[in-house]
Amino acid sequence: MSTPSSKSPSDLQRLGGIFTKALLGIAIVLFGLEFFIHRHGVVSAEESFMFPALYGFLAFLFIVQVGKWLRLMIMRKEDYYD
């Protein structure tokens, strides 16, 4: 049983690689579609080129970064309330 479990990390890495490639593939398709499909926006800025993509990408980075800062302030040991 030790052989499969020692293989698992590489399995996970392989899965990660497939996942990343699939994401990039979809991202390229979405990039291409941007030239053909007119997206309706609530404000004109939202209709600018690849706006939702940029918004999603930056929002995600922002959330994670704020989370890291928040950790410094509000993270405590597991037995804090005990």
Binding site: L12, G16, R76
Partner: protein
């Protein structure tokens, strides 16, 4: 006869027999009770049962287009929960979850505020047993804090109803305008159960402490009952847009750093409630449809996510992200269901979250509330982060935790399968959901522009995740506690309150000591007078001396009055 009973009541009555019914039959019996209760919905819209008592007309069974979708999904959630807990022999938990669901369903059909109060409190006292059932000291304490908040909510609701009854004499549960004390009390009562900012501590505190099956039941009813109550009582109340927007955005940051995956889902639940609260705040027909549709699909995918994490907890014994990982091979079915739940909550096209959330976003755009629109768009990326990626990633992938386990019991898998099927079914055929919404719908979520917008947002947010993981910038999971608004009463209040209490006690005991000294001094003086009087015989005791003193005083008063 049964059809005229308020739906849900039959489930509460049925719960009384559960202890004497053997296992497995008990589950079939519970499904029967839920079906009978659901049968009552066929009576249709209207007022079906009124009870005149103590000069009040209690409307026990009233149904309309708003209560129906909630009633349908509450019954469905109750049935799913029975299937999910099929393996569980603990009749107390089944008793609690069946009567809890029954109380929530009965509350949906209460036409007046006093009846609503009764069921409102009933949901509190029944659901608390699902937390207590964990059997740990930690759970017991969380359960007590939970009960305190739930009962407070009920008391505020009753206070508001009492003021309304005494001022206008009208306790019917209809649309209210926020203004006087009564409506504010009721609004805050609803706000506690809807987990408004700073009133939300109980949710993240207590839900993750319940049993694996208990949390699934808890996730469905209390908070969505509050959304229903807000939609009926306060549609179009502007302040709800602000409150809701804060609810969507703030929990996102907490969820990123939380280690307990069921607690991450509790933060996520809070964030989802925000979308519904915003929709109720907009108050247009499209927005209210959005709130109801969101509540409907949310109950299914949130239950699915809690079920998948419950299955992991049931099999592995922990749900901490720092201890999990790599379970995709050991629990592939649970993993697939979890990802379907994750894609639904993230609002991927063809999944249920997309067709519901689109209604609210469109309503926001139509109403021209641009700032809230962008806050909710931001929160959508947040949902993807914590529920879409973090939950499945840390449980099933991330790294190999070397945990040896297998799939969850068959009942758990069947319930997850049904919920996953519904998530996809509603996403592909949204007209099924739209047909039961309160207002007629002419809405088409699947236009090319809308779908590509949503896909861009989600796919590029996921790419951000991949970039962070590859650059090792994504924060690792750390065994920890994240402080939330419950910190104010779990830490700050004792920190400030206990020294304050100690000081008061110190002053009080000092004061008592001084008083005692004064009394002793007086007695000493009296004794001296008794034993060595200036003239005449000695006095035999203190009582005689006091009596003599009082008589003298009386004599003086009598003289003064006569004079």
């Amino acid at each position: 006869m049964i059809s005229h009973m308020p739906p849900g009541l039959i489930m509460i009555l049925a719960a009384f027999l559960l202890p004497v019914i053997p296992h497995v039959w008990r589950q079939i019996y519970m499904l029967g009770a839920i079906a009978l209760s659901a049968y009552g919905l066929f009576l249709g819209a209207g007022t079906h049962l009124v009870w005149a008592v103590l000069g009040l007309d209690l409307i026990l069974y009233q149904a309309d287009a708003l209560s129906l979708p909630f009633a349908i999904i509450f019954h469905l959630a109750a049935a799913l929960n029975v299937i999910y807990s099929w393996h569980d022999r603990d009749w107390q938990q089944h008793c609690a979850s069946l009567s809890y669901a029954g109380a929530a369903i009965a509350a949906l059909h209460a036409g007046d505020l006093v009846s609503l109060f009764v069921w409102w409190e009933a949901t509190a006292v029944t659901s608390v047993f699902l937390i207590l059932a964990s059997g740990t000291e930690r759970a017991r304490k969380a359960a007590m804090r939970y009960l305190l908040f739930q009962v407070t909510s009920g008391v505020l609701l009753l206070a508001g109803a009492a003021i309304l009854a005494s001022t206008s004499g009208d306790i019917r549960f209809t649309k209210m305008d926020l203004g006087d004390a009564a409506t504010w009390l009721i609004f805050i009562a609803f706000g506690i159960k809807a987990a408004f900012p700073f009133l939300n501590g109980w949710l993240q505190d207590a839900y993750p402490e319940a049993t694996p099956t208990g949390t699934v039941a808890l996730s469905a009813f209390t908070t969505k009952l509050a959304i229903y109550a807000l939609a009926r009582g306060f549609p179009g109340t502007d302040i709800l847009i602000w409150i809701g927007a804060a609810m969507t955005a703030l929990p996102v940051f907490f969820a990123v750093i939380e280690n307990d995956l069921r607690r991450v889902l509790a933060f996520s639940l809070n964030n989802q409630l925000g979308f519904m609260v915003v929709a109720v705040g907009i108050g247009t027909e499209l927005a209210l449809n959005g709130a109801v549709a969101h509540a409907f699909v949310h109950i299914i995918y949130k239950a699915l996510l809690f079920m998948s994490m419950g299955a992991v907890l049931h099999q592995v014994g922990t749900i901490k992200a720092s201890e999990l990982g790599g379970l995709y091979k050991k629990m592939p079915f649970t993993m697939v269901c979890c990802i379907i739940g994750a894609m639904s909550i993230s609002a991927f096209p063809l999944f249920s979250g997309f067709v519901a959330k689109s209604l609210t976003m469109s309503a926001l755009g139509d109403a021209g509330i641009i700032w809230a629109y962008f806050v909710l768009l931001f929160a959508s990326a947040g949902v993807l982060e914590h529920s879409g990626i973090k939950i499945p990633y840390f449980a099933f992938f991330a790294h190999d935790s070397k945990i040896e386990t297998g799939e969850a019991p068959i009942g758990m898998r069947v319930a997850m399968g049904i919920a996953a099927f519904l998530c996809v079914g509603i996403g592909v055929f949204p007209s099924l959901l739209y047909s039961i919404l309160p207002y007629a719908v002419d809405y088409h979520p699947y236009d090319a522009g809308h779908v590509t917008s949503q896909m861009q947002l989600l796919i590029f947010a996921m790419l951000a995740f991949v970039v962070l993981v590859r650059l090792k910038l994504y924060p690792p999971e750390i065994p920890s506690v994240v402080l939330n608004s419950d910190w104010f009463y779990r830490r700050l209040a004792p920190m400030v309150g206990l020294p304050l209490l100690r000081m008061v006690m110190l002053v009080w005991s000092g004061l008592l000591q001084q008083m005692r000294g004064l009394v002793n001094a007086i007695w000493d003086k009296l004794d001296r007078i008794m034993h060595s009087p200036l003239a005449g015989p000695t006095v035999s005791g203190r009582a005689v001396l006091i009596q003599a003193g009082l008589l003298t005083l009386l004599l003086l008063i009598a003289y003064a009055a006569a004079g």
